[in-house]
């Protein structure tokens, strides 16, 4: 379970101080897919980075399975599987070597790594690319490799930044099945997207983020009721207050 409480984060840029995230709070329960939905530049990636301890919040705190990220960042990271916005698979290594490298960094032994690689390869349908160097992989193949790499240590909590970005329809459907599989195993899955249909199709709980703060949260039905709109798309637009940046 991942809990964000009152997260704030600001950056200094050339044009001045930008408040990227302002008072973001939500709970992502185990056995549920929590979707962070918001337009581009809404603060989703910054929020995610604070969740996986790459950034520390100016204010507020993150707890993962009850562990405070400020106190035990390494402990939190051990419980997280992270697919960052930047996939960054190593081009000159094979997919299998990419996965094994992260397994070793998580302190797994060779036997466990081989076993996990086998399981993930089956779940993600990547047996045919496992022993190829990732140079020349398609976007989908790279994403699969990055996801397998992120989940090699069998984490209870999974954070995925726009996992379906740039994937074709078939791969997207396979990815959805895979995420549902993770949920059904009782894991806590957080998933960010700027594509409304994506979030609606996948998520049990939706957190709408815009302008760096939480605009609304709840299931798809609850959000529709909250906005007083029968159409989900209209509900989103109403809740965010603008159509800007939201891909329909």
């Amino acid at each position: 379970m991942i809990v964000a409480e009152g997260l704030h984060k600001a950056f200094n840029t050339k044009t001045g101080r930008i408040q990227a995230v302002q008072d973001v709070s939500f709970r992502a329960e185990d056995g549920r897919i929590t979707g962070l939905l918001g337009p581009n530049g809404a603060g989703k990636t910054t929020t995610m980075r604070m969740l996986y301890t790459l950034m520390s919040p100016d204010q507020g705190r993150v707890t993962v399975d009850g562990i405070d990220a400020n106190e035990d960042a390494a402990g939190v990271r051990r419980r997280l599987g992270v697919l960052p916005d930047a996939r960054g698979v190593y081009k000159r290594l094979t997919a299998r070597e990419n996965i094994a490298y992260f397994g070793e960094l998580h302190g797994l032994d060779a036997g466990t790594i081989a076993q996990r690689t086998e399981a993930l390869s089956r779940a993600l349908d990547m047996a045919d690319i496992l022993d190829r160097q990732t140079d020349g992989f398609s976007q989908g193949q790279r994403t699969k490799t990055a996801i397998a790499r992120a989940l090699v240590h069998d984490p209870r909590n999974v954070i995925l930044d726009e996992p379906t970005n740039g994937l074709d329809v078939m791969t997207t459907r396979a990815m959805r099945r895979f995420l549902h599989g993770l949920r059904d195993e009782g894991r806590c899955v957080i998933f960010s997207s700027h594509i409304m249909q994506e979030v609606a199709a996948l998520c049990d709980h939706i957190v709408i983020i815009a302008k760096g703060t939480v605009m609304a949260a709840g299931s798809a039905d609850e959000l529709r009721a909250q906005a007083g709109e029968s159409n989900l798309e209209d509900a989103f637009v109403k809740l965010i207050g603008t159509e800007e940046g939201l891909h329909a």
């Binding site: 980075r49 996986y52 301890t53 790459l54 950034m55 520390s56 390494a74 402990g75 990271r77 051990r78 997280l80 992270v82 697919l83 960052p84 916005d85 930047a86 996939r87 960054g88 698979v89 190593y90 081009k91 000159r92 290594l93 070597e97 490298y101 992260f102 070793e104 960094l105 998580h106 302190g107 160097q133 990055a146 790499r149 992120a150």
Partner: protein
């Protein structure tokens, strides 16, 4: 997961990654070993043949006023210095380097010679030109010999023992060891080449694993693992050091092999024993650590590979500084110089090349100071890796 096993994991991965990039690996490892021996042996050969041809072969000395001193001209010819007609634009010719050295015998030579007063002969040369050194020295020596001979004869003609006019008998005894003399050429180049190899030998790998990894956006997932950042940095530094050591060993082996194939005197000096080679490796080890740590620190602060590479210009200059500094300000052996990076490598390598004994005190100062600096730079690199903005690519 212990720090050490993370370090080895990261190092193994970086080395494997590099080994897949065959061309870069070959350039990194083989460029020095192939290029440096050719450079050193070739320059040695050139220098040797220049000195040989200028010493043994007869030289033509353009002479003005040769008709005023036929005896002197004959004497010079006997020494292999043949007077020739000087061109009209003699000054210009020396300036243009068409003529190395020339002689002017003054118009009043005959007259003053007959009166037994000093007669003027002038050597014309450009003292800033190395090529003129040997011919000028030969001409000077010949004139001095003639001077001495005629002077002695004149005194004898007046019934005076020539010894009276020589109150001092000045002789120079060269205390430099034979090896030190031979090593002149080597002492200029070898320390510089070895220092550059160890200081910047792993540069590509370091930049690629830090600035490059950041640019390819693989640093963020890497830093999201529970692996300790200090261990990740150390693993990357260790990988670059392995490449650096390999390239140093190959360079030394290449020197050894080419020395055995060459018959020049530079070749003979390069023929180092195993002990010397091991000492050189030990001397270069701290430099390797300093170089890779400094580069890691700089690369981690760079936004892109391009920015990291632009540091190379001033980094290349650092190893050359002591050579130039020593040229204008030669240092005596003082202990503090073994604590100054770059200068100390230069001095330590010179000692090894000259087969001088290196005392334990010097070793202690050298290793202490340089490894201390390496540790400091390593710590700075680790601190950079702890920074939040490092992980954020783009």
């Amino acid at each position: 997961m212990s720090i050490l096993s993370t370090l080895f994991t990261v190092m193994r991965k970086e080395l494997r990654d590099l080994s897949r990039d065959r061309r870069t690996l070959a350039l990194t490892l083989l460029m020095g070993p192939l290029l440096y021996p050719i450079l050193i042996l070739g320059m040695g050969k050139l220098a040797e043949s220049r000195v040989k041809s200028q010493i043994d072969q007869p030289l033509e000395i353009p002479t003005i006023g040769a008709e005023h001193a036929p005896n002197l001209v004959r004497f010079l010819a006997a020494q292999g210095l043949n007077a020739t007609q000087a061109p009209k634009d003699l000054d210009q010719a020396i300036g243009d380097q068409r003529i190395d050295v020339a002689l002017r015998i003054s118009d009043t030579f005959e007259e003053r010679w007959r009166e037994g007063r000093p007669a003027l002969v002038e050597i014309l040369q450009d003292s800033t030109r190395r090529a003129a050194d040997v011919p000028t020295a030969r001409l000077k020596a010949a004139l001095q010999t003639y001077n001495g001979q005629v002077g002695t004869l004149r005194l004898m003609a007046r019934g005076i023992d020539a010894q009276v006019a020589r109150p001092l008998d000045v002789a120079t005894q060269d205390m430099a060891s034979a090896e030190a003399k031979q090593g002149m050429m080597l002492s200029m180049l070898l320390p510089l080449l070895l220092t550059i190899t160890s200081f910047l030998g792993g540069a590509y790998l370091v930049m690629d694993t830090t600035a490059g990894e950041r640019e390819r956006q693989s640093l963020e997932p890497l830093l999201a693992t529970p692996a300790k950042r200090s261990a990740i940095v150390s693993g990357k530094i260790a990988a670059a050091c392995m490449v650096g050591i390999a390239s140093l060993v190959l360079t030394l082996v290449a020197f050894k092999l080419s020395a055995q194939l060459s018959d020049s005197s530079v070749g003979r000096q390069l023929n180092m024993g195993l002990g010397s080679m091991l000492q050189m490796l030990l001397v270069m080890l701290p430099m390797l650590l300093i170089g890779t740590s400094l580069l890691t620190f700089l690369s981690a602060a760079s936004k892109s590979m391009k920015e990291a590479q632009s540091h190379m210009t001033w980094l290349m200059l650092l190893p050359m500084l002591p050579s130039y500094a020593l040229l204008v300000y030669p240092l005596k052996s003082v202990l503090w110089q073994y604590a100054i990076p770059f200068l100390s490598q230069n001095q330590m390598l010179l000692k090894v090349i000259r087969h001088e004994h290196i005392s334990p005190t010097v070793w202690a100062i050298y290793l202490g100071a340089n490894l201390g600096l390496a540790a400091l730079l390593w710590f700075a690199a680790v601190r950079r890796y702890q920074q939040e903005r490092l992980a954020i690519s783009g």
